[in-house]
Symmetry: C2
Subunit: 136 residues, 2 copies
């Protein structure tokens, strides 16, 4: 298991107490978090603007992944596991299940032929209710 310090170094990012803390939070919470979620977990011990700045730096470095979830006005961020995966997100508790294997990888090739588009990426998120929440 890599230390936070090592992770930062790999991405040519300076170490700081704040960056260390944020990495730890995202490591310990494998679900999408808003900047505010993170801020609250820190008991406001760091400025909100710093949280935003670090999240932006991490996203640019691809340490974090930005999710686009409709009906959410705040941006959600998740640790980038560096594999091509998708997420099954619980609409009630926001818990995330990571789905290995991309169901449309093959389809992209087909689409490329059909449309003559240069296909670069896609965005797939699946929504539902997790076993616990669906009972209610």
């Amino acid at each position: 298991m890599k230390s936070n310090k090592e992770i930062l170094k790999e991405h040519s990012l300076k170490f700081s107490k704040q960056r260390d803390l944020l990495l730890t939070i995202f490591n310990e919470n494998k679900r999408p978090l808003t900047a505010e979620d993170v801020y609250n977990m820190l008991d406001s011990s760091m400025d909100l603007s710093t949280v935003y700045r670090i999240i932006n730096v991490f996203t640019e470095a691809e340490i974090l992944l930005k999710l686009s979830m409709q009906n959410e006005s705040k941006a959600l961020y998740l640790l980038n596991e560096n594999r091509h995966v998708h997420h099954l997100v619980c609409l009630s508790c926001h818990q995330v299940k990571t789905i290995e294997g991309c169901p449309i990888h093959h389809y992209e090739h087909e689409l490329k032929k059909q449309t003559d588009y240069d296909i670069v990426s896609h965005n797939l998120e699946i929504f539902g209710y997790c076993p616990e929440c669906k009972e209610k």
Copy 2:
């Protein structure tokens, strides 16, 4: 071809000059538009807040579809064709190609079994460069 008046009536929405105009704009521009795009097309002849209000009403009535596209801070809206389709969006010109047939429809059933989640919906958008833009 239904008139705008009829479309509004079907959704139990009152007719107004402004709603009529917006429907026409979305009908003539089958690509994702921001509230501001619409406002500009109107030569500012209607208030921006009205544009937002109408877009919200239309989205709630499912006349429009709200897209979630990462790296876009403004919300994008598109006429809802009332079929389950996905969109292939050009990263350069925002032109949209509608894809009939859902490549993951079958996959959702499989996933339901695997995960015990109650799967409700998904969100798939595909990004790339259209034949014209990819030359550049």
